[in-house]
Chain length 248, copies 2
C-alpha cells in the first residue's frame, strides 16, 4: 500500500528559504515525519522562489520578438520577454498559447514562466538546474533526518494529444526516473518487448492529487511505500532527445 501525504504549514517561501528544513519541520509537525525510502515531491514554484529564479516584470524590457509575439497572443510583452529568455526556441504559437523548448530541453507552454502563486508584478521561471535543485533538497533532508529519500521537483505540463495538464518530474535525485522492464516475463512468461515506465512522472502525477496549486498552499507531498529503484540519474534523462522526437 502506498500513502501520499500533503505537506502543509510551510511558511510563505522567499529567496533563501531552506526548503529541506521547512519540509522536514512541517512533516514532523503533521506527525508524518520523514521515513527511509520516502519520495518527497516539491512543486517547482517554491523551488524557483527559494532560489530566486523569479523575474520582476517591471525590470524587463520587451525586445522586438517579445513585442511581436505579445501582439499575436495578447500576453503582457514583459511576460513574453521572460518566456523568450528562458527558451531555446519557440515551437508553436496559436491563440494565447506559446509553446517553447526551454533551456533545459523541456517542451512546454510559456517556457514554464508562471504568473500564478508568485505575487503581483512577478513571474516565476523554472529552476536553472532542476536536477541540482532536487539533489540539494535531498541532501538537506537526508542530513536533517538520517533517512535516505528521493526528491522530485515537479511542474504541471500540457500534452499534445490530451486535454488538461498533468504534473511531471522536471528534476529528480535518488531514484531511477525510468524503469526499464524490457526482457522481464509477462503473466504468461513472454518477455516484455517495449516496456519502459517513467516512474518519476507517475510519482509527480500522484503527488499532484494532494498538492494544491491554488490557494491551498500545499507545495509538496510525501509518497510513502513505493519501492523505487535507487539511482543517480536526473530527470534530464526523461527528455526525449531531438533525434528521437517524431513530433517536432
Amino acid at each position: 500500500m502506498i500513502q501520499i501525504f500533503p505537506v502543509k504549514g510551510l511558511p510563505l517561501v522567499v529567496e533563501g528559504t531552506d526548503l529541506s528544513r521547512e519540509i522536514v519541520r512541517a512533516a514532523e509537525a503533521m506527525g508524518v515525519g520523514i521515513m527511509e525510502g520516502d519520495v518527497v515531491v516539491v512543486s517547482h514554484v517554491v523551488v524557483s522562489k527559494a532560489e530566486g529564479a523569479v523575474y520582476w516584470l517591471a525590470e524587463l524590457e520587451a525586445g522586438p520578438a517579445a513585442l511581436a509575439l505579445a501582439g499575436l497572443t495578447g500576453k503582457d510583452p514583459r511576460h513574453v520577454e521572460a518566456i523568450l529568455r528562458e527558451a531555446r526556441r519557440v515551437v508553436r504559437v496559436r491563440g494565447e498559447v506559446i509553446i517553447t523548448e526551454t533551456r533545459h530541453g523541456l517542451v512546454c507552454a510559456n517556457s514554464g514562466v508562471d504568473l500564478s502563486n508568485v505575487g503581483e508584478g512577478r513571474a516565476a521561471a523554472l529552476p536553472r538546474d532542476p536536477d541540482a535543485s532536487a539533489r540539494a533538497i535531498r541532501r538537506g533532508i537526508e542530513a536533517a533526518t538520517g533517512k535516505r529519500v528521493a526528491v522530485i521537483v515537479a511542474d504541471s505540463h500540457g500534452r499534445p494529444f490530451r486535454r488538461g495538464a498533468v504534473n511531471v518530474a522536471i528534476g529528480c535525485s535518488g531514484l531511477e526516473p525510468i524503469w526499464d522492464r524490457r526482457g522481464e516475463p509477462d503473466l504468461y512468461g513472454r518477455p516484455l518487448r517495449s516496456k519502459q515506465v517513467c516512474v518519476a512522472d507517475e510519482l509527480a502525477a500522484a503527488a499532484e492529487l494532494v498538492i494544491g496549486q491554488a490557494s491551498e498552499g500545499v507545495p509538496a507531498a510525501i509518497i510513502r511505500g513505493y519501492r523505487y529503484r535507487p539511482g543517480e540519474k536526473g530527470a534530464a534523462e526523461v527528455i526525449r532527445p531531438r533525434e528521437e522526437n517524431l513530433f517536432l
Copy 2:
C-alpha cells in the same frame, strides 16, 4: 492522506469474467474492501480480455498495407493487421514504432494492440468503448457494495517529448476527468488563468505505482481518500479534438 492499494488475487481473466464481482471479492479478501468515494483503476488488458476484445493472430490475414508496414518495422504482419483494423489512420512510422490514431481518437503506439499478458498467439486490443466499460464495472461494484465509486480504465502510453510510458485514463465513469480551476484565486488572490488539471490521468498514473504489468498479476488498484468531483463525462472528453491539436 491518499492511499493506493493493489488489488491482488484475481483469477486469470477470460472472456465473460465478471470484473466488478472479482474486484469486490479480491478487495474484501485483502481486508481493504470498497469504501464510499473510492476510485477503482483497472488495467485495460483485463477489461479487453473479459470483453473478448482479443485477436487470435492465426485468424488474421495481413492485407497489402499490413505487409508493407510489417516489412518496414520488422513486426509480425498479423500484428500489424490488427493494429490497422483498430486505427483511423497511421500517424508516424519509424524504426519498430507505429503510432496511430485509434478508432476512439487516442494517439498511441500500435493502436494499443498488445502482445503482452494475453497469451501466446493472441493480441489484446483496446476495449471497443472504454467509457462504457468503466460505467459497467462501476455499476457492478456499486450494485454489489452499495457504495458510490468512480472507475477508470487505464492504459500505458508513450509521449512525444518525454521518454518512458505513463498510465493514462482511456475510459472513466463517475468523476469529472478534467478539473477546471480557471478563475480560482492563487496564493496571492490572483485568478488562475489557464489551470485545467487532468485528474483522471493523474489517478491512472498513481495507480500504476502498484499495478504490475508484468508477472505480478496486479490488474487493478483502489485509490482511497481522493475527493474527486463527481460527474458523468467519460475519458473521451480528454482526447484533444483534432482542430485544437498543434502537433498533428
